[in-house]
Amino acid sequence: MSSVLILVPLFGIIGLNMLPRNVARRAAFWFAAAVFTAEILLAIVHQPAFWTEALVRFDSFFRLKFSVDSLSRIMLICIGVVSLSSLVVAKSTVSDEKEAFKFINILITASIGMSGIVMVKDIFSLYVFLEIAALSSFILIAFNKDINGLEGAFKYLILSAVATVLMLTSIAILLLDSPDTAFSTLHNEIAHSRGNFIVTFAIGLFICGLFIKGGLVPFHGWLPDAYMAAPAPVSILLAGVMTKACGIYTLMRIVASVFGFTDPIKNTMMLIGMISILVGAFAALGQTNFKRMLAYSSISQVGYIILGAGTGTFLGLAGAAFHLFNHAIFKGLLFVNSAALEEKVGTSDMSRMGGLSERMPVTGATSVIAMLSASGVPPLAGFWSKLLIVIALWQIGHYAYAAIAILASVLTLAYFLYMQRQVFFGKLPPGLEGLREAGNGLTLTASALAVITVGAGLAFPYIYNHFLLPLKEIFF
């Protein structure tokens, strides 16, 4: 019954738009909240029978074939948590009822696209769901119709469309030899004709497209612009799960179950990951805008995920999957904080802030937790995932990469400490004396995400046994 996660929100949106206007506007928030909560609960309370059983009539009518494994479950939890945070933040930042209704509709569409991406077993359906997620995120970035949002949306649109064209070309070429586009069929065909020039070319195009979608370094031009220009709740969604689901998760899934971990692919992934870590971290050091710094920090953290996945060993993939989850949570949390700052201070320019933690205690405290988790400070969740990645690199003999990965954590700490000093410590600048803490929606979301970060760090043995160990079945 995996298709429930697609069909219920889809028909829900259609139903909502048929209801009388004032009823629909009130019901939309609760419907979306129920959908996202159900998604989280279904993924945590794992009942294999629930996912595998076919939905009578519907599955055969829509020809849906989904399957959920442990990597999909981790992603479904991320999608649910981050979409829910984005929804709650939108409720307190988008004041106009009509706009809020539109926002919730597109948010649910985006989450349908992302849930589809993590559940499909067919490369063409993957393309369709990628486009659903990407198209709704273009609309969301340009949601306020201000010139910055439009510019960011257009840049993202062009690069994302080029990426999907590359992927489609690759699918078309792979179709030359294969009777259909299911992951398993393609895997056999590719294993059969390994070394063939055209097949290698197709694999290269597909991976290139995914690097663009994931915002990894040679192709990262669109990412800071889109994150910075997007309205606050949209930045949370984009940075938390959108690029992860569209680029990084897809890369891990496709390489693991279609292309296979060959040496050239592994080396490319590790090299690109390393470059992303360093370029992202150094670029973040020089930023003066809060959201732009977070965007470059995202590039750097996503580099860690690719670096871990590129090792091709179980430990590396487990570290990558866990870092994917951690990054969704702490980056979502930092963007919630940026939403609070934007709402209260009215800007995200760091030079105009200072000493805010005495006025906004919750925002200040949660941002410290998120930043420590991002830099890999021990009891927090980010430490464990980075540790797994570094151990995996050490085990396969890439000592230099392991050393740089550790040193880059120091860089992460450096730019986040600079951010903390500029924004939350020090003296209040004149004009901000009357500042108050942000509304309940924002502080509750931030606290919940901070609790998840701390909890996932403390309960790491449980997570390792219940979520990361089952990954062995997928990849090996």
Partner: protein
């Protein structure tokens, strides 16, 4: 793949590459948002043609046809959104010049 179909594939491949390069050049060289969208259209058209050719060579035309219809539907939505964004930019800036889209830097 047999020798005769290889000839067909290279003939189509030549034109597909031509359209693809035109589209890519259009996106890279133009200063107008509308022309960038037209470039995107050209790229997607080239890929659609490629899907048709590979489906024909693979004796899998039914699958290729359903793919092409799906691609066309998605392409229409993409172009509508791109057009909408370009229209809003025109309302703000009174022109479609990409050189004026330089607010976001750093």
């Amino acid at each position: 793949m047999e020798a005769s179909s290889w000839g067909l594939f290279s003939a189509f491949g030549f034109f597909i590459t031509l359209i693809f390069v035109c589209g890519l050049y259009c996106i890279l060289a133009t200063r107008s948002l509308i022309r960038a969208i037209i470039g995107l259209e050209l790229l997607i058209k080239a890929v659609t043609l490629l899907v048709i050719v590979t489906g024909y060579l693979n004796n899998n035309t039914a699958l290729a046809q359903s793919f092409v219809i799906t691609i066309i539907v998605i392409e229409v939505v993409l172009v509508v959104i791109a057009g909408g964004v370009a229209l809003q930019i025109f309302r703000h800036n009174d022109d479609l010049d990409t050189r004026r889209l330089t607010n976001l830097r750093g």
